[in-house]
Each structure stands twice: as structure tokens, then as C-alpha cells.
């Protein structure tokens, strides 16, 4: 397992220490704290019925944000359903992420020039699509890559293998991240496969596979950065397995992790909390204080409140909107139905 920083925030692999400025390190810490608060607020807003579908992310901040931080703005992100933080930090307005959660089409209306897709619900579909995006970037001679994410369960899907294999065959600039948070809903990772690691599944596609400490933001950043450089140098795709943990339930739709996880296991992973680790490291370098952290927490809470307000203020969906978004040139039956619903809506 590739690790740069241990649980005490000590650098254990100096050679691999990524070239990040003090400001970068502080920014990473800010984003992780912000995302933890956002996760707490999202769980609570979901319980109040003010958000819909939500897949908790606490525990995976290093894996999600460290990898996104290694990207450039032109890079494409093809996220899974849990990977909302990556596309928000890449540029999707927070209120649109909330609209995605509630089920409003405006949540999927990606701003111009932002290279992200909406979170993918079909586990594995994002992997084959990423091979296509990466091949497209290669053909257009862009200096950018496509990154995608799935979980440990997702690595059992056919599309997971096909996507890696296609990208490998076309030497396409893709990064496949498997966030191994140990459980696919209730099924533990060792029930998915007899393979000792998921990273070794890269062998089947003939591409490099790297297992990374997914609770170590510096390791995730460094591994992603290296994969990106290899891709842009024509070295093809990389598979990254980040070993991490979700502290919360699988989703907010009635999952109860106490039915399949022990508190001992929870405790063990809480010791590896990516925020605690980076905080210790930054404090040792005199780069972080309680005051700074509180400021981030306050900002996060304010911005989340404003984003929920903006989501509330978004006009309600009409059937006519849904019809209009189906095709560029509406077929005759949809023209008829559009007229029918417009008439109903005007009453």
C-alpha cells in the first residue's frame, strides 16, 4: 500500500512527498473540513426532508478531494453516485448538487466549460464512458485526462473490466479510481472477489494498478498526479485503489450499517480519519489553527444555507420542460404531448 503520511501525521515516505505549497496544503485541509461539514448538514437536511437521495461521504474526503486536487480544470470527471464532492470542487455550484439530490433537471445542467457529468447511478457505466471520453481527448490532442470513480462492489461489474480494457487497448488518458470503502451496502469487500487487492485487477487489462492509503490525502494526491502525468505522456490509463471507509450509512434511504458492521471496525477506521491526520501534519508545520478551522466551518454552514435557499428558489419542474429536454427535434408524438401538457399547465 502506497502511503506518504501515517496516522500520526508523520511523513513516512519522504521521496514520495508531493510538491505542494503551504497554501495548497491549507486549501486541501479547508476542502476536507468543508466537505465533512457539508456531509453532516446533508444528512441532517435529508432527515428534515429538505434533500432527497444522498450517499454519505464522511471518511472518504482524502480519497475524493486529494484525487480531484491533482487534476487541471480541463480534465473530465465522470463520477459515481457518491462522488458529488469531486464535481462540486471541480466547479459545479453547490445548489445544483442539492437539486441533483432532490431530483430536479437543473441539477444536471452543467455550466459551460465545466467538464463533468452528473453522478452515475448504474454502477460501472461511468467506467466504459470514461474510456470513450479519454479516447476523445486523445483524438482531439487535448492535454487533459478523464478520471472516474467506483466502489469496491463496482469492481465486480463487467463494465469495470471492459472500460479499463478499452482504455488500455487504445492507450487512452484515463484514471480509474476504485474507492474501496470496505462495503458495498452490506456486502464486505472480501465477498466480492478472491483477489487480494482490487489494484491487481489492472493486470487483466495490462495497465498499472496502485493500491493507495485512501485516508492519506498526500498519498492519494501523489498517486493521481503520477497517473495523470503517465496518461499525458502517452503511457495509457492507471487503476488506483484507495483504501478508505465511509463513516455513515451507504445512503440515507433506510440503510442501517449496524446490521453489518461492528463498532470495533468503526473505531479502527476512525483512528485513520483523513482530517485528523492532515490536521496533525499541518499543526506540526504551524500551518493550521483552531481559529482557521472554525472559520471554514462557519463559511461552509453559511454557503450551504445559501445553496439550499437557491435550490428552494429554483422554479418547479413542468412536464413540458421534461418533454422539451428529450430531443433536439421533437418527434410527432412528443409534439402532441407537449401541446397537451402546455395547455394543462396554462390553466
Amino acid at each position: 500500500m502506497f502511503q506518504v503520511m501515517n496516522e500520526e501525521g508523520e511523513i513516512v515516505n519522504k521521496d514520495a512527498l508531493p510538491d505542494l505549497t503551504d497554501e495548497d496544503l491549507q486549501e486541501l485541509m479547508k476542502r476536507m473540513v468543508y466537505t465533512r461539514i457539508w456531509d453532516q448538514r446533508a444528512v441532517s437536511l435529508n432527515r428534515q426532508g429538505r434533500l432527497g437521495f444522498y450517499a454519505p461521504v464522511a471518511g472518504q474526503e482524502a480519497s475524493m478531494l486529494g484525487s480531484q486536487y491533482a487534476l487541471e480544470q480541463e480534465d473530465w470527471i465522470v463520477p459515481g453516485y457518491r462522488d458529488v464532492p469531486q464535481i462540486v470542487w471541480h466547479g459545479l455550484p453547490l445548489y445544483q448538487a442539492f437539486l441533483f439530490s432532490r431530483g430536479h433537471f437543473h441539477g444536471g445542467q452543467i455550466p459551460e466549460e465545466l467538464n463533468v457529468l452528473s453522478p452515475q447511478i448504474i454502477i460501472g457505466a461511468q467506467i466504459v464512458q470514461t474510456a470513450g471520453v479519454a479516447l476523445g481527448l486523445k483524438k482531439k490532442e487535448k492535454n487533459s485526462v478523464a478520471i472516474t470513480y467506483t466502489g469496491d462492489g463496482g469492481a465486480s461489474q463487467g463494465d469495470f473490466y471492459e472500460g479499463m480494457n478499452f482504455a488500455g487497448s487504445f492507450k487512452a488518458p484515463a484514471i480509474f479510481v476504485v474507492q474501496n470503502n470496505q462495503f458495498a451496502i452490506s456486502v464486505p469487500a472480501d465477498a466480492q472477489t478472491s483477489a487480494k487487492t482490487i489494484a491487481q485487477k489492472g493486470v487483466a487489462a495490462g495497465i498499472p494498478g496502485v493500491q493507495v492509503d485512501g485516508m492519506d490525502v498526500l498519498a492519494v494526491y501523489a498517486a493521481t498526479k503520477e497517473a495523470r502525468e503517465r496518461a499525458l505522456d502517452g503511457g495509457g490509463p492507471t487503476l488506483l485503489e484507495t483504501l478508505c471507509y465511509r463513516y455513515g450509512p451507504h445512503t440515507m434511504a433506510g440503510d442501517d450499517p449496524t446490521r453489518y458492521r461492528t463498532s470495533d471496525l468503526d473505531d479502527e477506521w476512525e483512528k485513520r480519519d483523513p482530517l485528523v491526520r492532515l490536521r496533525k501534519y499541518l499543526e506540526s508545520k504551524d500551518l493550521w489553527s483552531e481559529e482557521q478551522e472554525n472559520e471554514v466551518v462557519d463559511t461552509a454552514k453559511e454557503e450551504i444555507k445559501a445553496a439550499i435557499k437557491e435550490a428552494d428558489d429554483t422554479p418547479k419542474q413542468k412536464v413540458s420542460d421534461l418533454i422539451e429536454n428529450m430531443h433536439e427535434v421533437l418527434p410527432p408524438h412528443l409534439k402532441d404531448q407537449l401541446e397537451e401538457y402546455r395547455e394543462k399547465e396554462s390553466k
Binding site: W76, G136, F166
Partner: protein, 325 residues
């Protein structure tokens, strides 16, 4: 003008669009140097290069994922599924993904993808090559499904499909690939999507059909004429969406109709046509609208095709049944 088979017309359409638009890419299993298992892409890689016309690994889901990703980066993919019986491997890519891309992004992204694929019985293919699965596609909102029955239509409809900015499933009946030649303009032209065509005019009964059954129905119409029954044959061409304007115009004229498809009775799109006629022209009908279809079994073992596939006598019998109702 040139005399072309349907397969030549299809190749010609792809050549035209590869020339017209540098974003058009043609890919699939064996479509490159080999020129396709039916020679549909013959010569295209040589003419346009490996960057534009290329082979893929053998994985249908990967191919449709590739198409979606390529369209997100500005390309116009023309992907091939070697035989449409293999569509099950990529139902998600087609019905779960590309059909929904425009909608799920509120119009921000689109998938200008053409999925070409051969299908159809009568040539004694092995298992799962010939199945008529267009009904599955017709039930997916966001897709257009096009099935040409002649070389002229095939070229014009394929050019229109490639130029369409939303996904089109373009199904090519294997029996029609080389069964006859027709005058096809060498220059570019289009045939409108979403439009049926009356292939034979008549006043006594409408035969609404598509694919190879167009020719079966035209043959039946000749036989019916000998008995003094003038059948009007409507070729749907696009089977989803249905061009009900043309269908209803015909039915209102003849007051009788049958729908003919090669697919099983529980499959295909015949029941959609019947339902639409019932909703919009019931007062014009002198008889119920009946269907000619295959039986509701799995597609037959090759040696049983002749007793299973609908033929022109099935059509004449059914037409007479509604005429004499």
C-alpha cells in the same frame, strides 16, 4: 445514378458522411481493415485512415460506452453491433445511457450516435443473429429506430440518422443486404426521419409494415390484386416514433388495415400501430385491425425458419379476412 444493393448504399452513406464531417467516426468489431462481416465498411479505413474507421475489442457494452464518451468530446460516432441479437450486452449503454443523456443533463449534453446493426431472418444464421428486437428499442424514450427496406431509403435515412443530434438505432435487414439492386444517386441526399412512405397505392385495405416484410407485403398485394383487392402498402421506415399521419390517412381511405411484422406477436411494434389506429380512426374502420406476426416462441432453429417466418400467403389470408369481415 448507380445501381446499388442496400449494403452498397449503406457504405456509400457512411463514406459521404465521413467526407462531410471530420467528427464522424466509424467503429466496431472487424469494421476496420476487414471492412465488416458484411462488407458494410469496406474500403472506408483505407480511404479515411485508422483514426476515423477502427476496430474495437470484442465487447458491446464497451463499444456503446466508447460512443457516449466520444460524443461528449465532440465526435459523431457511428458504432456497429455485429448482430442485433448481441444488443443485450449493451442494453444499458443504449436504453439506460445514450437515450437519456440530453434529458438527464437538461439539454446540456447530447448523444449524436448512430447504432448500426444487422438483423432479420431468412438467411439461416446461427442462434441470436436474426432476432427482431426493435420493439425493445421502440420502448426506450429518447431513441429513434429506423429500419430501411430499400437501397435508396437506406442511404438517405442513414445520412439523416448520422446527422441527427440524438441517438438513432439503424437496423439493417440481412436478407435485404444483397437481394436486389436499385437506382441510388451517387451524390448526397437525405430521407426524412419520422416519415413513412406509401410504397403501393390501393383503396381496399392498408398493409402497414417495415423491413423485409415490406417486400413480402408488396408480393401479397400483387396476389390480392389478382382477386380484385387493391392493397395500399405503407412502409413505416422509422418505427419509433411512428408516422401516424401517413398511416391514418391511408386507413381513413381504405377503412381496413392489417399490420405486418417479422417479430413475434408479443414483440415488435404492431400492437402500437393497432392501438394508435383504434384511438384515432375507430369510426373509419369497417373491420378490426389484425396483425401478421411470427409465433410467440424463441426465434427458430435455422432449419425451421421457413415454417416460422411470416410469408406472403399469411399476408394475403389476413388481408382477405379483414376485407371479408
Amino acid at each position: 445514378m448507380a445501381q446499388m444493393t442496400m449494403i452498397q448504399a449503406i457504405t456509400d452513406a457512411m463514406r459521404t458522411e465521413l467526407k462531410n464531417d471530420e467528427n464522424v467516426l466509424v467503429f466496431g468489431e472487424d469494421v476496420g481493415q476487414y471492412g465488416g462481416v458484411f462488407r458494410a465498411t469496406e474500403g472506408l479505413q483505407k480511404e479515411f485512415g485508422e483514426d476515423r474507421v477502427f476496430d474495437t475489442p470484442l465487447a458491446e457494452s464497451g463499444i456503446s460506452g466508447l460512443s457516449i464518451g466520444l460524443s461528449l468530446t465532440g465526435f459523431r460516432p457511428v458504432m456497429e453491433i455485429q448482430f442485433f441479437g448481441f444488443v443485450f450486452e449493451t442494453m444499458d449503454g443504449i436504453s439506460g445511457q445514450m437515450s437519456r443523456l440530453r434529458y438527464r443533463s437538461g439539454g446540456h449534453y447530447n448523444a449524436p450516435i448512430t447504432v448500426r446493426s444487422p438483423f432479420g431472418g431468412g438467411v439461416k444464421t446461427p442462434e441470436l443473429h436474426a432476432d427482431s428486437l426493435e420493439g425493445l428499442m421502440a420502448q426506450s424514450p429518447g431513441l429513434r429506430v429506423v429500419i430501411p427496406s430499400s437501397p435508396y431509403d437506406a442511404k438517405g435515412l442513414l445520412i439523416s440518422s448520422i446527422r441527427n443530434n440524438d441517438p438513432v438505432i439503424f437496423l439493417e435487414h440481412m436478407k435485404l443486404y444483397r437481394s436486389f439492386r436499385e437506382e441510388v444517386p451517387e451524390e448526397e441526399y437525405t430521407v426524412d426521419l419520422d416519415k413513412a412512405e406509401v410504397k403501393r397505392e390501393g383503396k381496399d385495405v392498408s398493409i402497414i409494415t417495415y423491413g423485409a416484410m415490406v417486400h413480402t407485403s408488396l408480393k401479397a398485394a400483387e396476389e390480392l390484386a389478382e382477386d380484385g383487392i387493391e392493397a395500399e402498402v405503407v412502409d413505416l421506415r422509422t418505427i419509433s416514433p411512428l408516422d401516424m399521419e401517413t398511416v391514418l390517412e391511408s386507413v381513413k381511405k381504405t377503412n381496413r388495415a392489417i399490420v405486418v411484422q417479422e417479430a413475434q406477436k408479443q414483440a415488435g411494434i404492431a400492437s402500437n400501430v393497432v392501438a394508435e389506429i383504434n384511438e384515432h380512426a375507430i369510426l373509419h374502420l369497417e373491420a378490426p385491425v389484425l396483425r401478421v406476426t411470427a409465433p410467440d416462441t424463441v426465434f427458430p432453429f435455422a432449419a425451421a425458419e421457413d415454417i416460422w417466418l411470416p410469408d406472403h400467403t399469411n399476408v394475403t389470408e389476413k388481408a382477405k379476412e379483414v376485407v371479408h369481415f
